[in-house]
Symmetry: C2
Subunit: 210 residues, 2 copies
Amino acid sequence: MNRYSLAAAMFPLACVAAVFIPFRKTSSVHAAPATAPVYDKNENLLPPADYREWVYLSSGLDMSYNPKSSGPGGESMFDNVFVDPQAYAKFVATGTWPDKTMLVLESREAKSKGSINLRGHYQGTGLMGIEVHVKDETRFPGGWAFFDFDSPSVHGTLIPQKAPCYSCHAAYGAVDTTFVQFYPTLLPVAQKRGTLSAAFLKENSEPAEK
Amino acid sequence: MNRYSLAAAMFPLACVAAVFIPFRKTSSVHAAPATAPVYDKNENLLPPADYREWVYLSSGLDMSYNPKSSGPGGESMFDNVFVDPQAYAKFVATGTWPDKTMLVLESREAKSKGSINLRGHYQGTGLMGIEVHVKDETRFPGGWAFFDFDSPSVHGTLIPQKAPCYSCHAAYGAVDTTFVQFYPTLLPVAQKRGTLSAAFLKENSEPAEK
């Protein structure tokens, strides 16, 4: 597992089976807004070219469910999550995701020293990978699937349903197999609408670990 | 200077004179889209209530131009930057900001252990502060001004033009007093359109410091 697949696997949305190759160019943001997932004849997912204009949910830096994990070279990486605007509006209104929801996880290089910045981390132009979590109820067992993109300009391949990310998302995702507990503006919506999973509520009723 | 003003001052957009008080509630995202800055009779800026639905530019964690700076308690903080969609579209097309551009800097608590996450940092529901950078050419000397918000539901106060953030942004901002060098999808646009400042180009033609 190289630095990119490892780093991407750190993030809760991520479920990377393939090896990420850093993208050579940043994705274009000129495409028309997507309204629903589109597949090719091989059942691959077309890239959501305009995802950087979707609604931003949150970012993480070096998130991991392994307290000791780290890339071989110790490199840091940001993860940014975006959702299509229609699904976002529906979530704000109901606390749940509608059919055809698409969530995009973008992994991006973290830099530290550059221009006037001398400390902490900021995001560089190096795009490390993209994954999309799609809700398509009549198409996928359980209603959801993950797609992995080797670049923002090629079609995404389906990650098999037996991959551990599916069971992990099902077990720990706060709302409908998604990690709403890490999306700070949506967690209060789910709390208000009463849509948090029983498992998440049980976990949070127990004393927090220090 | 308390932890909030210090942490906010770390970020290049930030120019905090007032003391930040952590917001008690996350900003609502139901407001109608703003198309231009609106001021009250005291020349304060009305809060852009829907900024979380604007276009996301980037995030940083504990960014600082002081290599040794750190909050008194060592707490970490994320900064997220958003821009109004009209200004974003104009920048993508031209590499420059139109009049009435609004950039929002949101400072948000960084958490580490929570749910299945055991390492790295993610963003919590605690909103630490908001600042807005406004381009309003006939209103402000130099065309731009910073406003500081004590909460997302009250009007923002103008940061005086003599504050050091204005001269720092003017000297080091890659495009028109803004830190486009930290916005990974816009930096290539400015490079392509030839809108990077002479100072930024000069800085980047010199050998980078290790």
